[in-house]
Amino acid sequence: MKGILVDVTKCSGCERCVAACITENDSDPVRAHMDRVLTKDGLSENRLLSVLSVDDGRFARKSCMHCLEPSCVSACLVGGITKTPEGPVIYDPDKCIGCRYCMLACPFTIPRYEWQETTPFMRKCEMCFERVKDGLDPACVEACPHGALLFGERDDLLRVAYSRIASGNDVYLPRVWGENEFGGTSVLYISDVDLSPIGWPEPDVESIPSMTEPLITKTPIIGMSVASSLLGVNWIIRRRMKLQNEIAGSGETTISTEATSPAETAGSVGPDRSDQKGGEGA
């Protein structure tokens, strides 16, 4: 399981990573440059990675976090998003139908949509999956001139992160962003300032699929139990009606016209005893 470690203290905000990302993903550089100014967080369908100012002279990248238990993967109804064993969360445009539930489901609000296209697709960082498969670093990591990005096995990165925090003379805040949040993410941050400006959601250690998936696996059971309880209720009511018929002594059914007087109307939910048509219209 690979990941990226972001050292916020080393980032100078030069945006070489963004430029590399634009080249690697074949985005339109002019539109990407416009989107840097026109969007709130610099992310758009042309700009899958952005560098935001988090504090005076401190910058942090914002892009897909590649969660270990991604909410988008569990949300996509056609299974178009997958978490690869290598680490990247990748998107299959051939499956996508454009429902945009992944955009709603992402706690980091990362997926972007090609709104201006007539056949639009979702776009997000895929951690350069093709490159990673070939044993290369993602384009952004390769482009960083300051060594602020580090690519490698997630466990190794965690170790590096903690050793930097330990040897950093209290420069770093004692926290690795992404270690446990939302079940852990493949992109990790260490920083000397608070990272909430890049849109870090309220701390929620539990991952979203771990909330929803236990519920959805119960679906068949709920369906069956509803059906069986309906049959049970129906059986009881039919039996009561039959018994009442027998108690009435005669097999005659009296079909009284419904509600001759408006006065007797209250919302009694119980079976209407005046009406004994019996079974269905078979």
């Binding site: 100078s12 905000g13 002019v30 005076d56 709603l104 201006q116 697709f121 509600a259 269905e280 078979a282």
Partner: protein, 646 residues
């Protein structure tokens, strides 16, 4: 039946406007026709048409439950209308959804590509299956009318099983629609986010669905069969009972239609369910602590209050109050209130609840409204078609066949069109179409070219403009740079050039961002001046003609080939005087392109800075932060990592 006809005309007009909007959406795409953004990805079509539309069509399963399972035979007359409503409700929801998804031609993907962990997947399957169930339930009515008795009998015989399957499916997908929003605990406003959302959704949908059928029954009676609900003519009931009681002397003798008791009974059940929903909501707010958001006085809290009053408060009051409960008008108002409350609730959960977190506002575009309402209008027309041609509400439908002219198969012939155009039938529809479609097209057309919203840029006021260089954040991106103000002023035309960047009179755009002129900061730039060349070529070649420069294309571009920089004549073919230089500099073949502005500026300063940094032993002189003052100097980390005594 003037009223029916007017209603149909309005519905036709709305449906056609919706058709135009649908064509726009397919032709121009989502971004051009809707106001959806990355911050608010789900809009009117999904929330109002799909989620609220499905929720309000619960009548099919709730009435089925009352009639088939609980054996409350007095509600049987409502069974067929309920099924019809469910069928149409689900049908029009699916239709609207087809326009909402980005790639409509892939609607079949979920049939083959499964992700059983997705709530949306569950909703999709349950909705499709339940839609089939409603079609089967509607079958007997259709087949009996068409005199295919064997099929009708068979469908009758499996009715109970189908109803049970339908109820199970409904209970699953109505709760799953609520579960859809469980994945957004950080984003949805705490007033609406609750782990009980699935429960809330199914309960409110059941109550409001029953109220919807009450509303439809009353509206139907208004149009076709007044006596059945409102009582005999001339003895129309008055809204406030006390008044009529005073008039009649005794309230008990007030006459209402024969179906009124049934409707009151159903409405009573419905408001009990809605009351339970309201109480559950309040308890949940109290337990989760979100009640603080309710008294915070934000617009969300007012919206929540309005929703609760419409959905639970007002209907309960109107139905339980003995003074109003027996008035068909009051009952209709209660039902309408409950239905609109449900709509509002779904819009809150699906759209409004996200504004606070997204920091963005969304108001549907004209095309979104048109399609949304158009689909509902189309469902309304289908509803009218069914009740006029099939025994849905009662057996008196044959008497109304004279009103069904709209659907009569007749076609315009030129000779008759003006005589009969406004009288009846398809001709009327044609006239409506001729009027509405161009009108809708005209109104909606500008919507497709949505202007890009430009964020406000703070003016660099208070800076000393007499200095040659200012430190500005010209693109408002949190990065400052040294800006040669005096130099810009000189190049752009002295005193009078201020207005090319500073627009004090323009709201939201006080200064022009750097990138507005320096468009290609990071891209290598085309330095070839095309306009100048066409003019110069026309002059030097002595081209004749009305527009001489029009004839200059062929000088550089070849006929039958796309006119691009790559396919045109090489620059050095004409610029002979530059040939010697070009040959010297190892044959640069791409003369038209210069390095990007950013690179040019960087190359201008950085090499010398780096050199000097070595020379004067100031390592940071070559850093980005020397010019970009918002960037941090490199040494911070290295200094802190190196122990002090070194």
């Amino acid at each position: 039946m003037r009223r029916t006809r007017t209603l149909k005309d309005i519905l036709w007009a709305l449906a056609m406007a919706g058709l135009v909007a649908g064509m726009f959406r397919l032709w121009f795409g989502l971004g051009a026709t809707t106001n959806l953004t990355d911050a608010v990805p789900w809009g009117l079509w999904k929330i109002l048409n799909m989620i609220a539309g499905v929720a309000i069509s619960t009548s099919g399963f709730t009435i089925g439950f009352l009639v088939y399972v609980l054996k409350l035979e007095r509600f049987r007359p409502l069974m067929k209308p309920a099924i019809l409503l469910a069928f149409l409700g689900y049908g029009c929801s699916c239709l609207a959804l087809l326009f909402d998804i980005g790639l409509p031609f892939r609607f079949w993907h979920p049939f083959l590509m499964w992700n059983e962990h997705s709530f949306l997947f569950e909703v999709f399957w349950c909705v499709i299956l339940y839609f089939t169930v409603t079609a089967i339930e509607l079958g007997p009515t259709i087949f009996e009318k068409l005199r295919i008795e064997r099929v009708a009998e068979y469908l009758h015989s499996i009715a109970f099983g189908v109803v049970v399957v339908g109820i199970s499916l409904s209970s699953l997908h109505h709760s799953s629609l609520g579960s859809l929003f469980l994945v957004t605990p950080q984003r949805l406003h705490p007033l609406w986010y609750s782990s009980l959302l699935p429960l809330f959704f199914i309960i409110s949908a059941m109550g409001a669905g029953m109220m919807f059928i009450v509303l439809i029954k009353i509206l139907y009676a208004r149009l076709y069969n007044r006596e059945s609900v409102f009582g005999p003519k001339g003895e129309e009931t008055i809204f406030l009972a006390p008044l009529s009681e005073r008039k009649a002397g005794n309230g008990n003798h007030r006459s209402v239609g024969r179906d009124m008791p049934m409707l009151i009974g159903l409405a009573s059940i419905a408001v009990s369910i809605l009351g339970v929903f309201g109480i559950l909501q309040i308890i949940d707010l109290l337990v989760s602590g979100s009640w603080r958001a309710l008294i915070a006085g934000t617009w969300e809290s007012w919206l929540f209050g309005l929703e609760m009053i419409l959905l639970a408060g007002l209907p309960s009051f109107l139905v339980w109050n003995p003074r109003t409960r027996r008035s068909p008008t009051a009952l209709g108002m209660a039902a309408f209130s409950a239905c609109s409350g449900l709509m509002l609730n779904r819009l809150d959960v699906g759209i409004f609840g996200y504004f606070r977190n997204a920091g963005a506002f969304y108001f549907p575009s004209l095309a979104e409204w048109a399609l949304s309402i158009g689909v509902i209008a189309a469902a309304g027309l289908a509803f009218l078609f069914f009740v006029e041609n099939f025994p849905i509400f009662d057996e008196e439908w044959r008497n109304r066949r004279k009103d069904m002219g709209v659907f009569r198969a007749s076609f315009d012939s030129l000779s008759r069109v003006w005589n009969t155009a406004l009288s009846s039938g398809l001709e009327r529809t044609t006239v409506i179409a001729v009027l509405v479609i161009p009108l809708a097209w005209g109104i909606m057309y500008p919507m497709y070219s949505r202007a890009d919203g430009i964020e406000a840029i703070e003016p660099a006021v208070g800076l000393d403009i007499t200095r040659t260089e200012l430190c500005i954040d010209g693109n408002k991106t949190g990065v400052t740079t040294n800006f040669p103000h005096a130099d810009h002023r000189e190049r752009l035309g002295g005193e009078s050039s201020c207005r090319s960047c500073h627009h004090m009179s323009l709201p939201g755009d006080e200064t022009t961002a750097c990138f507005r002129c320096h468009r290609q900061m990071v891209q290598s730039t085309l330095i070839f001046d095309h306009t100048g060349h066409t003019r110069a070529v026309a002059e030097s070649e002595q081209l004749k003609g009305i527009h001489p420069s029009n004839h200059s294309c062929a000088v550089c571009h070849h006929e039958g080939e796309a006119k691009s920089a790559e396919s045109s004549k090489p620059c050095l073919d004409c610029h002979k005087e530059d040939t010697a230089w070009a040959e010297r500099s190892d044959g640069e073949d791409d003369l038209a392109y210069a390095v990007s502005y950013m690179e040019a500026m960087h190359n201008n300063c950085i090499p010398c800075h780096r050199e000097k940094a070595e020379e004067v032993d100031r390592k940071t002189l070559g850093d980005c932060s020397t010019c970009h003052r918002s960037l941090v100097a490199r040494q911070i980390v290295s200094e802190t990592l190196v122990p002090d005594d070194h």
